[in-house]
């Protein structure tokens, strides 16, 4: 692909960028962050905050870096005295009506106003003792609160709802310094993707009720993950505090979710913190389960899986590629009927209008596509029916109805790999505690065959281990890490051939051929 390139010099770094690139994006490539508020790469640029003014040689005045495109030979200074002075002035203007309530503001610590004021704001305010503009907090929607006094009128929220969500329920009302962000009294900010306005807001003006006063930004640990809310596979960041997941936020992936995630996915995290966990391997002796150690448990499991001729695998659609794959390897000598459990929503897909191929999908599990690649292709009922004739049935983190539980209960050897006590069945011969998504590293394959990694965000409870580790120990293969487990699995599966864990990066890779029979069921 040939593309017109132009050569520009930004703060002394000369680089080539495609024609039409804005100075702000070119600067990013030169390793320079031009401070900005209204600009956001996923939204149209209105150039209103005027924070990104930079000096361009030969231009008569400072230019907004967000909408000024590069031209050949251009020389840009983002940090000249004049540019800095203009930024300091914008910050001072933005603060004159600001309540300066950082100590009680949820945004503190991740606020772009706070950050820039700290970097290059004035020492004291020259505004003096004039009264500040005051407007009460408003409820925009079920989860979003608007704190107008902190608003810097960057209009990101309005543009998101209008241009990206295609549902213009927010507006700029009034004009001059009376302006504020308004909502129609008869409407709510309850669009399925509305929560993104909270992330987009560069200050603490739009806040999430769910996260309200839960944690201070600097206490949070952040882990790259993938949303398990549906088969779209939006890239996320899990924020934890003291080993508790307190918030999910979107992580940019231009191929999958740009900068967004839906509200269903965003709220889909409480289960990660569940308290009623299975903490140790259990073996059944008579009518009761007794705790044991992993050596013993794995030995029993290995013996069962190694000798069985008919095996049924019933797995959760949120189980990782590694776990599903190594379970297949551990049972490779048997005839296996494998099925994956995927909750289906009644509502149709809920798209984000402005982003192609992005929607909250009906398939409400993250790894259905991965499971199918790995041969978990039997129908759910078909697999349940096969249970009667199987010697071994393995349940991997599934939720069974009472009838289903009775159906598998009659199996000779029932093995349960579970995350919480509610899943334990009295007839299970082995109960093996496994980690949930937040507690392990692994991969999911999204509906477009993109293989994406997620990382461990919190410690596993008790003796719980990733299911791949359990499967590996029971004859699945030699893997001490998720990476090794993945590479082992990929070797066997045509669609994953050639993919190595190390190459997946944090934005994933597309699996080669989408051949569901690749695992050779």
């Amino acid at each position: 692909m040939t593309q017109d390139l132009v050569s520009v010099t930004i703060d002394g770094v000369t680089l080539q960028v495609p024609k039409g690139t804005s100075i702000i994006e070119a600067a990013k490539q030169a390793g320079v962050l031009v401070p900005h508020y209204c600009y956001h790469p996923a939204l149209p640029s209105p150039a209103v905050c005027r924070m990104c003014l930079v000096e361009v040689e030969k231009a008569p005045k400072l230019m907004p870096a967000c909408v000024t495109t590069v031209v050949e030979g251009q020389v840009v200074h983002t940090d000249s005295a004049e540019a800095r002075r203009a930024r300091t002035a914008v910050l001072e203007f933005l603060l004159i009506n600001h309540p300066l309530d950082c100590p009680i503001c949820d945004q503190a610590g991740e606020c772009e106003l706070q950050d820039y004021v700290f970097q290059e704001g004035r020492g004291g305010s020259r505004y003096g003792d004039y009264a500040k503009r005051y407007n009460p907090v408003e409820e925009f929607g079920p989860d979003v609160l608007y704190v107008p006094n902190r608003c810097i009128l960057c209009t990101r929220c309005v543009r998101f709802m209008e241009d990206v969500a295609g549902s213009p329920v927010l507006n700029v009302s009034e004009r001059g310094d009376r302006a504020y962000i308004g909502i129609d009294p008869g409407q709510l900010l309850d669009h399925p993707w509305a929560g993104n306005v909270v992330d987009l807001c560069p200050v603490g003006s739009l806040i999430s009720r769910d996260f309200l006063h839960k944690a201070r930004a600097w206490e949070l640990d952040k882990t790259a993950s993938v949303c398990s809310g549906c088969s779209q596979g939006c890239n996320t960041m899990i924020d934890t505090r003291d080993n508790t997941v307190v918030r999910l936020r979107p992580r940019p992936n231009l191929e999958v979710n740009r900068h967004f995630m839906c509200d269903h996915g965003r709220m889909h995290y409480r289960w990660m913190n569940r308290g009623d966990r299975i903490e140790a391997p259990l073996v059944r002796e008579g009518e009761r389960h007794h705790a044991t150690d992993w050596d013993h448990a794995l030995q029993r499991l290995g013996a069962l899986l190694g000798s069985a001729r008919r095996v049924v695998l019933l797995a959760s659609g949120a189980a990782s590629v590694e776990s599903l794959g190594l379970l297949r390897r551990a049972t490779r000598k048997a005839t296996v009927t494998a099925a994956v459990q995927i909750p289906m929503a009644e509502d149709p897909d809920q798209p984000l209008a402005g982003v192609p191929n992005l929607a909250l999908r009906r398939e409400r599990a993250p790894n259905g596509a991965g499971a199918r690649l790995l041969g978990y292709t039997a129908g759910w009922d078909e697999a349940l029916n096969a249970a009667a004739a199987a010697e071994v049935v393995v349940l991997l983190d599934v939720a069974l109805t009472e009838a289903e539980a009775r159906q598998v209960g009659a199996t000779a050897h029932l093995i349960l790999m579970g995350t919480h006590e509610g899943q334990v069945l009295g007839s299970a011969e082995l109960v093996l505690p496994v980690t949930n998504t937040a507690e392990e590293g692994g991969c999911f394959v999204n509906r477009d065959a993109r293989v994406q990694r997620y990382q461990q965000a919190r410690q596993a409870p008790g003796m719980a281990r990733p299911a791949w580790w359990v499967a590996a120990g029971a004859g699945g293969g030699d893997a001490a890490t998720a990476a090794e487990a993945f590479d082992l699995v990929a070797r066997d599966v045509a669609a994953l051939a050639g993919l190595r864990h190390a190459d997946l990066g944090l934005t994933g890779r597309i699996a080669g051929a989408a051949a569901p029979a690749g695992a050779g069921a």
Binding site: V169, S173, G182, D184, P185, G186, Q187
Partner: protein
Amino acid sequence: MSGTATPGAVHHQPYRPVFVGEGRTALEALFPHYPTRQACLLPALWLVQEARGWIAPEAIGEVATVLGLTPAYVRGVVTFYTMYHTHPVGRHFIQVCTTTPCSICGAEEVVRALLQHTGCGELGATSPDGRFTVIEVECLGACGFATPLLIDDDFIEGVTPERVAGILQGYK
């Protein structure tokens, strides 16, 4: 959307839609003049204000519906323009210019006379008899004829405090 009472509505009668019958005809007469429905927004809002005297929340809903916009969008536009009333006003709406050219010619005195003779007491308030609302506006574009007033649609030039009482008599 039209016809449903929105919380916070100031009046209690059921909402009467503007764009039915003749109102509808007037609206549709606008369409050929603009390539988009959205562009009919300002003229449509004028039609509402001419018919009802102000632009009620329900009217915002009605305008949004007939032009294929959202109420929030329409509200953002309505509040940008100072001539659209988002609250009911007196029977006669008086706008008086006090920008510099008129100010140096004594516009503030005219304002005082207006507030006194209308009984409004303060700017923006409606007189107890519901007859007048007086507001101060920025330059009316008649600076050589200080001080100009706009009473409803009547543009009156060269107003002095002495003339105020006489002028008001023409508005019952």
